[in-house]
């Protein structure tokens, strides 16, 4: 690893100041479970490393029925797994968290780091998407809040502007009548990335789909919402043919690549299968 200057800011403003000063030569360090690998391999070589873990309060979870949940970007997977509010109201996020890495990785890795690393296969992204999560972003100007879909701008790229830091997420309380799940397909049971990941959140009434959210991981340059599949299902009867057709729509919206984990065709097959399964399991 190359040598770098190391900072431990105490406030978000201080961290923003450092980012503004050192620009692209600086990197933010959260859990380090991705960044450290990049630094060791040499394809990320920050001259200035800014450790966000020394900022108090960025790892907090706060829930109220009216306002929903706010999750600090430095919250670890282990903390998410031990949150009663997440267990009760956001089980899909909990499911995704439980499938990330192994114990040691979950003790270090953070939800904000997972999103800012912006891997198309980020396990937390489909869960955050189906829940309609908003990202809270601090920077040299005013704090801004953007939908989770808008934070991804490409593979390993975010839409954060120079000097901006993702400080947390706000997620409204889901309708108690809705149900959902996150399905991850990976060859190993632990310490693995998804070949395809599918999140679904569904509400039905009198045998009809009322609200449907579907999000897909590892099938495009960024995690995506399967909006055509969602639109197709709303108002349709809860039946195998409509679920099958929705899965077909999700396949049509996916743009997977062939890489060492799987071929494009294999991924498309998985989208068809897992989308159908995810909707069915969410009924």
């Amino acid at each position: 690893m190359e040598n770098f200057e190391y900072f431990e800011p105490k406030t978000v403003q201080e961290a923003v100041g450092l980012l503004v000063k050192y620009k692209r030569a600086a990197k933010l360090l959260a859990g380090g479970t991705d960044l450290m690998l990049g630094m060791k391999e040499g394809f990320v070589q920050p001259r200035y490393l800014i450790n966000l873990k020394t900022i108090k309060g960025l790892d907090k979870i706060a829930y109220s029925k009216k306002g929903g949940i706010s999750i600090g970007s430095l919250t670890t997977w282990t903390a998410i797994l031990s949150s009663g509010a997440i267990l009760e109201h956001y089980p899909i996020l909990r499911e995704a968290a439980s499938l990330i890495g192994g114990y040691q990785i979950r003790n270090r890795g953070t939800i904000g780091g997972n999103i800012c690393h912006a891997s198309p296969s980020a396990d937390s992204a489909p869960a955050l998407m189906v829940y309609g999560a908003q990202c809270v972003v601090s920077g040299p100007r005013r704090e801004r809040v953007i939908p989770i879909e808008e934070i991804f701008s490409g593979a390993q790229k975010t839409s954060l502007k120079p000097g901006e830091i993702l400080t947390g997420f706000r997620i409204p309380t889901p309708d108690p009548k809705s149900k959902g799940c996150y399905l991850k397909f990976s060859p190993r049971k632990a310490m693995d990335l998804p070949i395809v990941g599918v999140g679904a959140l569904v509400r039905t009434s009198n045998g009809t789909f009322e609200e449907v959210k579907i999000a897909l991981g590892a099938v495009a340059p960024t995690p995506i919402r399967a909006r055509k599949a969602e639109r197709f299902l709303v108002g349709k009867p809860v039946s195998d043919p409509s679920i099958r057709q929705a899965a077909e729509e999700a396949v049509n919206e996916s743009r997977p690549i062939t890489d060492l984990r799987a071929s494009r065709e294999y991924r498309l097959g998985l989208v068809r299968e897992l989308t159908g399964q995810a909707i069915t399991q969410s009924l």
């Binding site: 040598n3 190391y6 450290m36 192994g102 114990y103 040691q104 003790n107 270090r108 049971k189 310490m191």
Partner: protein, 149 residues
């Protein structure tokens, strides 16, 4: 070379060191403190052989910077046995033949037991993990033998 002064409590004893900023906690534990029970195998946070307990949580010390550990309490495999007496988990590993070449065993044991709770880091009663599920997520056995992941 940019360096930082750190103070870490390892197995109950405080150490003060000046470290290059890019040095990992693993390199300090093995290289500076000469506690070589903690192993370096994959060096990318995958295999779990470098697992130590930092402030009560199992972490891969190969992907933790030494500067990040400043002020923290670290427990390594050396901190587990008491004056020549093995910890029950260690006894269990011996009794069940869980050790093959043994190189990755310290990491497995530290992964299973965080030293804080009566249960292992896996949430299962300490030492029952290997008997129960036959797996210890976060630890990959590297010697030939039954798959452990």
């Amino acid at each position: 070379m940019k360096t930082s002064k750190i103070r870490i409590k390892v197995n109950g004893e405080w150490h003060e060191l000046t470290v290059p900023n890019q040095k990992t906690l693993l390199e300090v534990i093995r290289g500076d403190l000469l506690l070589t029970g903690t192993k370096r195998i994959c060096d990318t946070g995958e295999c779990g052989s470098c697992t130590v307990i930092m402030d009560g949580k199992a972490v891969n010390s190969c992907i933790v910077l030494a500067v990040e550990a400043n002020g923290k309490e670290i427990n390594t495999i050396e901190g587990l046995s008491q004056i020549g007496k093995l910890h029950p988990i260690q006894e269990e590993f011996v009794a069940k033949g869980a050790i093959q070449c043994g190189f990755c065993t310290p990491g497995m044991i530290r992964n299973d037991y965080d030293g804080q709770s009566p249960t292992g880091a896996s949430g299962l009663p300490a030492a029952s993990t290997l008997q129960g599920s036959g797996s210890l997520p976060g630890s990959m056995r590297t010697s030939p033998g039954p798959r452990s992941w």
